[in-house]
């Protein structure tokens, strides 16, 4: 052991200021190229693979504790859970039967109208590994990536509604931006009256904003918002949020509408990734809905004309 190295009174090499100047220039260069161009996607993916073992190590105590917990789960609680699940299965089975018949009916109607067949979505389950450190951004990293056929832009849902969208993919992990992030916008539809709008993440407090709607718009507190499906990213009909408050400001022509996401965004571990519908299907669907809207409008106009 060499205890007697030469004492370092002075830091050898370039001065602190030179080092700082060099590295700050380097990071400014990186930031500019990362935000304006897409040069660094490959670099990011490669480095992410290198960091993968670290993530596995960090996650392992929690995986282990969960495994131990499930191993030692006692019989009583298991029986209780089986009973609960059986009850739920029964209820959902009944609902599914109704759904099957509705699906058939819908298909028949679509056939009649020569519309596109509704798409069937493939889905895979993913587990949330960790959340970003930054309270500004609402992103989570999940444990599946391109090697498990995850693609950019897939919608992420849980049992109660839409969670967000896959915004970055790496070989063994990917990044989901939650719908409360201010960078995410989702085309929605009010379930009650079919009104279409766009919901934006509010960035803070786990809420969703719906700007650009006039103050006299027909939205009530408690209305359910679902995806409209006309963007080709999110399949139609996924639950997004319920309207929580509507405020109108006399100085602004727009209402300030906030809604609360239905999915338990902060407190679940498992999410489901679903593929986006194929492009031609979406186009057909858009045409179909627009035609239907027009027909309805005409109808309502003619009825109002008749009334007087």
């Amino acid at each position: 052991m060499d205890q007697h190295q030469t004492p370092s009174f002075f830091i050898r090499g370039p001065s602190a200021f030179t080092r700082f100047f060099f590295f700050s220039m380097l990071s400014l260069l990186l930031m500019a190229s990362d935000s304006r161009f897409n040069y660094l996607v490959g670099v990011r993916q490669t480095l992410m693979v290198v960091l993968q073992p670290l993530q596995v190590v960090a996650d392992s105590p929690f995986v282990l504790s969960r495994n131990i917990q499930s191993y030692f789960a006692n019989q009583q609680s298991l029986q209780k859970e089986v009973k609960k699940l059986n009850e739920r299965l029964l209820i959902q089975g009944a609902q599914l039967q109704a759904l099957e018949s509705l699906k058939l009916e819908n298909q028949n109607l679509r056939d009649l109208g020569n519309a596109a067949k509704a798409s069937k979505q493939a889905a895979h389950i993913a587990e949330i590994m960790y959340m970003g450190r930054d309270p500004f951004t609402h992103r989570v990293v999940i444990n599946v990536g391109t090697n498990q056929n995850v693609t950019l832009g897939q919608a992420a849902i849980d049992a109660s509604g839409l969670v967000g969208q896959v915004t970055r993919v790496f070989p063994y992990s990917s990044e989901v931006t939650l719908l409360t992030d201010q960078e995410l916008s989702i085309p929605i539809q009010v379930e009650r009256n079919g009104l279409r709008a766009i919901a934006f993440g509010s960035g803070k407090s786990g809420m969703v904003d719906i700007p650009y709607l006039p103050a006299n718009v027909d939205i009530k507190e408690g209305d359910r918002l679902v995806t409209s499906g006309i963007d080709g990213v999110y399949p139609a009909g996924l639950a997004v949020a319920t309207v929580e408050s509507i405020k109108s400001n006399p100085s602004s022509p727009f209402a300030k509408i906030t809604a609360k996401p239905l999915a338990g965004i902060q407190n679940h571990r498992l999410i489901l990734l679903i593929d986006m519908p194929a492009k031609n299907v979406v186009m057909e669907e858009i045409k179909h809905t627009l035609a239907a809207d027009k027909a309805q409008q005409k109808k309502s106009m003619s009825t109002t004309e008749k009334k007087p």
Partner: protein
């Protein structure tokens, strides 16, 4: 194994990164101390010939990567903090333990402030004072663990 060696620096940084990667959730995300920066500051104040601005910059890049932030954001903030830490490092030996903690707190605050400004420049439009909570938890951790256990001023004999 000697305490002040490159191997120790990199092992401790790796451990800090693993701590950073633990599945934090809910309110803990905001309270979570900045483990990597604390370890960096410890080594920079104790042995600047082992861990310097370059090391801090590389560690910041790793943080950018795992957080999914813009490349270079954390790296720049870490580099600036490291620069300030290193230029006053020689004077630190005269400080008392409490003064050292104060100095480290200032550095942590500068880091958060730089990061916040970069984020506000780049994309974010929001500001919340909760952002600085991690400074407090970090300094608490520093005071409890570093000052109580391996103070930076009591140098081993192979150090000046």
């Amino acid at each position: 194994m000697r305490l002040n060696s490159h191997r120790m620096v990199y092992i401790s940084l790796l451990l800090a990164l693993i701590f950073q990667l633990l599945p934090w959730s809910g309110v803990w995300v905001q309270i979570k101390p900045d483990f990597v920066l604390l370890v960096l500051l410890y080594w920079m104040l104790r042995a600047p010939h082992l861990c310097n601005i370059g090391t801090a910059w590389c560690a910041g890049l790793m943080i950018d990567l795992v957080n999914g932030d813009l490349f270079g954001q954390n790296a720049l903030a870490y580099a600036l903090t490291a620069f300030i830490a290193v230029i006053y490092q020689k004077r630190l030996i005269l400080f008392t333990v409490l003064q050292q903690s104060g100095y480290v707190f200032l550095l942590l605050f500068i880091n958060q402030l730089t990061l916040l400004m970069l984020k506000l420049f780049m994309d974010s439009k929001q500001f919340s004072f909760l952002y600085f909570v991690s400074c407090l938890s970090s300094i608490l951790l520093w005071h409890l663990v570093v000052n109580a256990r391996w103070g930076i001023a009591n140098r081993s004999p192979d150090q000046q």
